[in-house]
């Protein structure tokens, strides 16, 4: 039986987006390999979430609803999952590549002595249910496709935001299986003293994956911050706005500012003086919006748009609002 299992991460009893994305991915993998989709739902008071997972594609939801799982700890979650795996022998076991998934999955893989592939951006499967797990390495310069031919389950953590979310179907039928764990309590020895939610920490443009960068063509920077928030990015700036006192110096990109290399660099109203280009030309994907079609920034942009930067920013904010 080709069982494809997904660890469905929840925080504060809210299913995380990556859990649903993985349900969609597992559904499509199961369809290609005559498999079934199992959802692992762990926590305290999480049982009501099971139905949602069925609607999102689970054939079976294994629910461990236990006070010991109220706060995430590696060992308790590992014990519960390892017990279920040993009882049911799934062929594949997927986790979101979050700070929980990437903590938990390696612990489990070592306990089960099976292979684990980290932070995958693509999953494929053959008819026998063998996974082909593709992941970036060497700072994103290389992509490796990994297989796990001789041991089961084949384990993988999958980068959040990569797999499409499934279309919810509330008429879907599935089985809900409550699981009781035989705890090895003596091993549950890491104590949670405190757990505190926090908003995103201080922004560093050098570490941002996406930069909404503003130049002279942007008079009002407020929409840029709004857009950056929606795009999960950070706001950076050309020198012009820093000199004008509109932007803080730590946000400045270029020769006299910082050198950045984000996955996406969105240049709004930046003409692209050589000093600016020196600080950002290594960005992986560059989008430039400028009214001057001869602006040098267009020579290095992957996507150049001749338009008013402020107007495009406004439209982007509108568009992402709806989404």
């Amino acid at each position: 039986m080709n069982r494809i299992w997904v660890f469905c991460e929840q925080r504060d009893n809210v299913l995380q987006p990556v859990a649903l994305e993985l349900m969609g991915a597992a559904r499509s993998l199961a369809a290609q390999s005559e498999g079934t989709v199992g959802a692992l739902l762990l926590g305290s008071g999480v049982s009501p979430l099971a139905q949602e997972l069925i609607a999102c594609g689970a054939d079976t939801v294994y629910v461990v609803d236990d006070e010991k799982l109220a706060h995430y700890t590696t060992e308790a979650y590992a014990q519960a999952i390892c017990q279920m795996v040993r009882e049911e022998n799934p062929a594949s076991l997927l986790f979101g590549a979050t700070s929980i998934g990437r903590d938990l999955a390696p612990r489990i893989s070592a306990r089960l002595r099976t292979g684990l592939t980290a932070d995958c951006t693509k999953l494929e499967i053959d008819e026998q249910g063998s996974l082909f797990m593709t992941r970036p390495a060497f700072g994103g310069n290389l992509f490796a496709t990994i297989i796990c031919p001789n041991s089961r389950p084949q384990m993988s953590t999958v980068r959040p935001g990569v797999m499409p979310k499934p279309v919810r179907d509330d008429s879907r039928q599935g089985e809900i299986v409550p699981v009781t764990v035989a705890w090895q309590t003596e091993k549950l020895c890491v104590r949670v003293v405190e757990e505190t939610k926090e908003s995103q920490s201080v922004e560093n443009i050098e570490e941002a994956k996406l930069l909404v960068s503003c130049g002279r063509g942007v008079k009002n920077t407020e929409p840029a911050f709004e857009l950056a928030k929606k795009m999960k990015g950070t706001v950076s700036s050309s020198r012009a706005l820093v000199d004008a006192g509109i932007m803080e110096q730590p946000r400045q990109v270029g020769q006299t500012g910082k050198t950045v290399r984000p996955q996406a660099y969105l240049a709004f109203g930046i003409s692209g003086a050589i000093q600016h280009l020196a600080g950002m030309e290594e960005s992986e994907y560059i989008v430039a919006i400028n009214t001057d079609k001869n602006a040098p920034i267009f020579k290095i942009a992957n996507l150049g748009i001749v338009a008013d930067a402020a107007a495009v920013m406004k439209e982007l904010n509108k568009l992402l609002e709806e989404a």
Binding site: I100, R113, A118, F132, G139, V287, K293, I305
Partner: protein, 259 residues
């Protein structure tokens, strides 16, 4: 307290580029460095040494050239260093690697094992937790802060949207984030002193390892194929009205999983 810090020598991936003609990685002349998260682990260990008293042992599994990374750790102030190296270890994936390193830690003995969260070449973040499992000790990953009182390690464990304060009794393993501390520079005293120190070698013969669990044969994962990133050569400049422009940008970003 005896602290073992596990470090990896990695190519400085920020300097790796792809040859646009051959579409292969240009690794020539790319300097090797101590993996940044691991360097912070060294710093964390040295601070515990200063505040609580400890011996700091640094270990690395790799080819003989990794000696440089270990010597750099000594020049920062670590007490001793061992290189885990053997042809039999070649081809190990994270599970096999963690098996070997756990074997070495068992042999050396440690109260606290510190690792970097992940290496910039492989980005797996797996070896630390796997070592902890092999050793049968608790793990705390993503440490943003670390202190020690008596036999108890206290860690600020970072998540995307929250943090936990966790406590564990030693022995335990902690993986640290590069943002925890700025690693110190090497200093002239220790740069000179390391010259007189030997780097211990740990080979297959020194450890009690099941040959079936190490190297290529002991690795459940295999690399089926690799490909370099295709250059995004599409350079296009479009004249669009703002609404169309917004749609085009969102579509382009989504296509690349950037949104």
């Amino acid at each position: 307290m005896k602290i073992i810090v596990c470090i990896k020598q990695v190519p400085n991936t920020t300097e790796i580029k792809i040859d646009p003609v051959t579409n292969t990685l240009k690794r020539d002349g790319v300097p090797s460095i101590i993996n940044p998260d691991d360097k912070t682990a060294i710093e964390a260990a040295l601070r515990l040494k200063e505040t609580n008293g400890a011996t700091v042992t640094v270990i690395s599994m790799g080819p003989p050239q990794a000696e440089k990374a270990l010597r750099e750790a000594l020049a920062m102030g670590a007490d001793e260093a061992f290189l885990i190296t053997d042809r039999a270890f070649g081809g190990s994936d994270t599970l096999a690697t963690s098996t070997i390193i756990a074997g070495a830690i068992e042999k050396l003995g440690a109260d606290l094992v510190l690792c970097g969260r992940q290496a910039i070449d492989g980005d797996t973040a797996q070896v630390g937790p796997q070592i902890a499992e092999h050793l049968g000790i608790p793990q705390i990953t993503y440490a943003a802060d670390l202190s020690c009182e008596g036999n108890c390690i206290r860690v600020k464990r970072q998540f995307e949207d929250r943090y936990q304060i966790l406590e564990a009794d030693m022995p335990c393993l902690v993986t640290v984030l590069a943002t925890m501390e700025k690693p110190r520079y090497m200093n002239v005293w220790d740069i000179v002193a390391q010259d007189e120190k030997e780097i211990g070698k740990i080979t297959f013969a020194d450890l009690t390892l099941d040959p079936a669990r190490i190297g290529l044969n002991g690795s459940p994962t295999k690399v089926k194929s690799t490909a370099t990133k295709q250059f995004d050569k599409t350079i296009e400049t479009l004249e669009l009205d703002p609404a169309e422009a917004a749609k085009t940008i969102v579509a382009a970003l989504q296509k690349r999983h950037l949104l």
